[in-house]
Every structure is written in structure tokens, then in C-alpha cells.
Symmetry: none
Subunit: 215 residues, 4 copies
DNA sequence: GATGAATGAGGTTTCATTCAT
DNA sequence: CATGAATGAAACCTCATTCAT
């Protein structure tokens, strides 16, 4: 199931980077056109309004994330492994697609209805996978999580931060990054035994496939 | 040492809420004036440019945060207790001043030089207190932190998220919130013994004092 | 007959300099207030509107000039001497009061009716003295002037230019300046015999008296 | 070598007339748009800022004037004829292009750096041609000029005044105007013999050619 | 006298968008 | 496909001016 997303790639690529960098309201149409090597009038051949463009970006990114999470949830019974993979998925996605994820994380407020509602629904569905993993782990006596809602939010935000600073060209490999975050999350949940690194690779592969990235 | 902050309170209050809510570029001058019960021309009696207003807000908030962190660092030798208090400080600040903290966390990019540089310097000085607590704890063999820079960022982002959702009118008390985040952080750092909750109250008091809040 | 002019000297002095320097429309009220060491609200104790201020400045300067010209015309029968003195008067006034004269010369257009009309009337009355001197000289066979209107305008503009560049602190004395301009004008009018320098001193004295300047 | 000048003619034409008439600061953008039969937003298709427009006008006008002066200087050895032609050039330019020349003469102050510097440089280069003609004439014993700098300024200002009042629809022909000014200038310089009127026609032709005017 | 506070109108410039070519 | 031309609305900010204190 290919998720091409509709909009011309040049335009979407330019938009995602600019929206991530300067925010939706901080990005002008001409700026966008210039980044896409197009005149501002030509832009409108490839998109509806500026807001439609934003909505498309967010829907696309969230759908990919949700698909990946569903795949992990459907194939991983053990709550510890499942949560570790969700962490790896979230971290890898934010590391490899920092622009898209920052837009998703920061620009919901720039959407007006009904697009906002739809995006929020997707995001909630995605977070529900985290909620399930946490509650399953607590029910199984594996996790110590205090208020599970608080914990879920804390862990999600922790992982989302990656998009703000991680560079694939730096010293830290993506695998190590994912492993460290998984370890942090599991320890925070009270698991003293380590998570198996082997499983985390799966998450990285899913991310690559879902986004059409090499290897 | 009173930190009055300069700009007329009405204006600053309105600005901080709008900037937090809709972003700097998403907030218009007329909107701001209306929220401050002023004409848009009158606004300019109380501020320089819109960006000056933003810079003032950020400088003020970061200075308060930095002062509080310095106070904690100066009075708490044990790295575990120190980190727990820093977590409590960060969480309480984000819970009680969600508008200011979100502006600080999201709008650095909207600043142009030289204000940006100054704000970044303040933020770095603040994060340095976290870095010291973590490296002290690792040197003392109390923390297991993998790459300490990654850990620092992960924990900071985790705590910052509070500003996005916590409400003091909800079921969760501020003390419980701070305690849960401190527990999450210490466990993530590999401390299995619990942090003493007694100390955390100190952080709440500092926050209240530094921001001039009741109790 | 003292010509105090009404407006507080501080204000008028500041205004005249700014209007000369940046033009009427290029000068803001706050700028003016700052130059007069007053708040912009306080300005309005000393003046009506900004345009009233301009009109007052122009009326005052033109009245002084007109008085001086009348005095010269009334006391100098010979057209050559009369014109030489008018030149000296015009040049000295522009050299010693460059701000006032530039405002008079450049800002008539910034006046609206009825003030404009009044100022134009004064200016025309002043120029009439030049016209009389020239036509008297032609009638007496002393001047060769082609179209006398053209000549009058040419000579007036020639002399007015002094306000743009002459500095009393430079190498050229005021007397020399006046003498050179008088010589230029008389030669342009076809008088090959020199103008008597002694008379020109009279013009300088009149300027000083009319403007209340030392010596 | 065509000097088309860049900006859309409609806009430049409107601007030059308004700037001449009401001054740069006295001319509003909406006024300008209306005069160009454009909305104020559309104006910005054809220009950068209002100041860019002014700078373009001044650069263009000064370049034409400088070119013409260079041509005259290069082709006229005798200082008397040269000065007469420069006078004719200056007078004709001011008579035929009163708007452009008034803007050049009055609005240098409205320019900010670096445009101001550039314009001043052009103006100085132009005035240098006058300075050379005068000093050549003095060296050759043809001119009596007192302080040559004073004389240069006096003659230039005398001629510039034409833009303020001459109308090609009046009784005075352009040729007569130029001839009279040349005669005034040469007499002022102490030349009692008349300048040859034949040469002056050259100046008129150059002006027409340089500005793309008929005949 | 003097001024801080206030404002309606207007300043220049940019916005997202449309449409004829 | 692509774009230059065009625009109404709105952006931020400054204007000259008034008035209660």
C-alpha cells in the first residue's frame, strides 16, 4: 500500500522543511515557492490552499506512524517488547523525519476545523497504542507507572524531543539512539532487566519501509 | 531581588497567553490589543516592537528559572536529590506557568539576533545545571545514563511536556505530579531506591516565590 | 517694533532646524519634542498644530525679510546700489539664518490654505522689491537684463543657494561672500563698473538688527 | 546605449511627478498607486520599496545629466563655449524634466545609505565638470570668478531654479531661455563679448537625445 | 506648566490567492 | 504547465493630536 500523498513531492518537501523550521504562520507562500523552484502562482497547480498543504502533510505523517504502530502492536504480545518497539518507532521516526514530526507535534493549532479534528483523531488513535502497551504491562505486573496517563505523556514527549536535535551525521548511530531511549523508557517503567536489542531493529525497518527510505 | 520585568502587566499577560496559544507569528497585533483592552496604537506605549515583547517574556522567564535552578544546585549536594529537585522545579514551573514556558520552549526561532543569542545563552546556562547533576551522579556511581547528553535532553523534554496538558484544576495535585515525574526520572537513571518526597516541596516553594505566586 | 513671533523659542528653534534638515513631512512630532526637551504632549502648550508652527516660522521670516527690503528700498535711490544691497541682504539672511530661509524656500507646498496664500503674498511682496530694482535699473539704462522676470528669478535662486552650503566657521567671511554675490549679480546685469563695497555693510547690519543678532 | 531605467514607466512617471510636487515624505503610497492606476499592493510588483523607487529615479536622472555633461566637455575646448553649453544643458534639462530635476535637487536628504552616498558621488562628478570649465576659463584669463567654488555654486543654483517656474507652454521659448541664462552666466563671469548662440542648440539636442524626447 | 495614557487614522509593506495569457 | 500581473485584506507600526491628572 503505497502512500504517495497526492501533492507534488517538490512542493511538499519544501513545505515540510519550512513549516518545521519557521512554523506554519512564519512561512510565506513566496518563500515556499522559492524553495520549490516555482513561481508563487505555479504553486497553486500542486496544492489547494496553504492550509490544505499543512493538513495533507500531517495526515500523511500520522497515517504512516499509525500504520507502523498497528503493525508492531499486532505482532508483539509481550508488553515490554511492545513498548520498547513503540519507543524505537517513535524515536526513529523523529530522528529520520524530523521535519514531518515537528510539524505534526507543533502545528495542530494552525489547523482549522474540520481538518484539525481529523488530525487529532489520528493522533489519539496513535497514542492509544501507547496507552494499551502501558496498561497491558501494568496489568501483567511488569510496569510500575503511577498514573498511566501521565506516564504515557511523559514518555511520548521524551521521545518526540529527538526531532529537535538528533542528526544522522553525528557520532550517535540510529540504533544506539533507539536502544538508549528504549532503556530509559523501560527503566522509567520499573523494568530492571534490559530490553532485547534484537527486536528494536524491527522498528527501524518498519520506519524505513513505511517512509520509503533506503535500507 | 524583585523581578518586575518592565512591560505593563496587562500587555505582557495578554501576550504570553496568545503567544503560547497561537504562536508568535500566529498572533496579530490587533488581537493582542483586544486581549489587553487597548487600542493597537496604545499597545506601543507599553512595548517596543512585538518582537521586543517576545524577547522580554523569554528573558524574564528564563532568568527566573535559572535563578531557581542555581538556588537548588547551591543547596543540594547529593546528585539524586539535586536531580529530583530540578525535575520538580521544571515540572512545577511548566505546570504553573504553562504560557511562559511554552513560549520559551517553542518560540526561540521567532527571535532575531541579537535577542536570540542572549536567550539561547540563558537556556544553555540553565541546561548546564542539569548536565552537572547528571554527570555528578554518574561520577558518584549513582546514575546509569548511557550518553549523558542524550539523557539530559530526554529528561528535559519529558518534563517540558507538562505545560501542554496539565491543569491545576484537574484530579492530579501539583505535588503528586512533581513526585511522579521525579520517580520516572530517577528510575530512568537507574536509581531503584525511591527519592525522598520531602525535598520536592522545596522546589514548589521556590517556584512560587520566584514567580510571586501565592503559597 | 519687536518681532517675537509668539511661539516659545525652544520649540521654534527646534522646529526650524528640523524642518530645514528633514523637511516638514519628514519631521515627526516626537522628534520635535525631543529636540525641544519636552514631551510631545507638552509641545501643544506652545503651539497650535504642527502646521501652525510651520506657518508661524514662515510668516515671521518673510516679514523680517520684507521689512529689511523695504528699508533698503526706501533709502537707496540708485538702482545699482539698491540691487547690490538687496543681493547682500538676501545672501546674508540665507547665510546667517539658513534654517529659516530653507524652510521658506522649500516648504510653501506643505502649507494648506489659507496660510499658504498669506505666505505667498508676503513672498511676492518681497520679490516685488527685486522686480522694482531691476526695472528701475533697466529704465535708467544701467541694466541689461533680457526678460526681467527671468533675470529676477535667476538672481534670487542664485542667492538662495547660499543657505545650502555656507558656513560662518569656514574660510570665507560674510562680507566677502556678500561682496562676491553682489559682483556676480551686477556683472550678470551688465554693469562693468564695480559696486561700492561700503554700502553692502548696511545690508549686513540690517540683517543683524532685524533678526536680533549680535553686531 | 539606451537608459531604460528598470521600473515600470507608469509607476516611475507617477512617482517622479508626485515626489517633485509634494516631496518624498509628503507622498503616500496610496496616492502613488492611484496616480499609476494601480492598487497599492500592485505597486510592489514594479518596485522594491518606496525609497528604492526614489533612488532609481535619482540615479537615472543624474546618470543622464552626467553623460550629457561628459559629451559636452569632450567636444568643446574653449572654456567660454563649454560653460555656455553646460549652462544650456542644465537649464534645458531643468526646463524639460522639471520633475526629475527637482527630485534630484531636493530629495537627497530623503535617501538613506548606501543609496545616498552613490547619488552624492554622481552629483559631485557632474559638478566637477562645471568646476573644470570654470577653472580652465580662469587659467586662460577669460573668467573673473572670485572664489571659484562660490561661483560654481551660485551659477548652478541660478540655473536649477528654472525647474520651479518654466513652462514650455509659456511665451518664452526654450532656446531663448537657454540663451538668456548663458548670457547671464558669462556676464557674471566677466565675459563682455557675447557667447555664440549657435553652439547652444547642441545642448538642447543632447538633452532631447539623452532623455528620449522628440526633436 | 507638564506629562503619561490613549487613540483614530493612516503610514509602508506583505499576505494568500486568483486569473488571463 | 507556468507565470506575470493584479488585488483586497491584513500585517506591524507611527502619525498628529487630545485629555485627565
Amino acid at each position: 500500500m503505497a502512500l504517495t500523498g497526492g501533492t507534488e513531492p517538490r512542493v511538499r518537501r519544501a513545505a515540510v522543511n519550512l513549516f518545521a523550521d519557521k512554523g506554519f504562520h512564519g512561512t510565506g507562500i513566496r518563500e515556499l515557492a522559492q524553495a520549490a523552484n516555482l513561481s508563487s502562482a505555479s504553486l497553486y497547480h500542486y496544492m489547494g490552499t496553504k492550509e490544505d498543504l499543512l493538513a495533507g502533510i500531517m495526515r500523511d505523517a500520522l497515517t504512516r506512524l499509525l500504520d507502523a504502530a498497528g503493525e508492531i502492536a499486532g505482532s508483539t504480545a509481550d508488553p515490554r517488547a511492545r513498548l520498547a518497539k513503540l519507543v524505537a518507532l517513535h524515536v526513529c521516526t523523529h530522528a529520520l523525519r524530523p521535519a514531518e514530526t515537528q510539524v505534526v507535534d507543533n502545528e495542530v493549532r494552525s489547523l482549522s476545523e474540520p481538518a484539525r479534528h481529523e488530525v487529532v483523531r489520528l493522533r489519539d488513535a496513535y497514542e492509544e497504542q501507547w496507552a494499551l502497551a502501558i496498561s497491558d504491562g501494568m496489568a501483567a505486573g511488569r510496569f510500575v507507572a503511577g498514573d498511566p496517563g501521565v506516564t504515557r505523556r511523559a514518555l511520548l514527549e521524551m521521545c518526540s524531543g529527538v526531532a529537535r536535535w538528533y542528526s544522522p551525521h553525528g557520532a550517535l548511530s540510529l540504533d544506539d539512539l533507539a536502544a538508549q531511549y528504549a532503556a530509559l523508557a523501560l527503566r522509567a517503567l520499573g523494568c530492571v532487566d534490559r530490553a532485547s536489542g534484537a527486536d528494536l531493529a524491527t522498528a527501524g525497518e518498519i520506519v524505513a519501509r513505511v517512509w520509503g527510505l533506503p535500507s
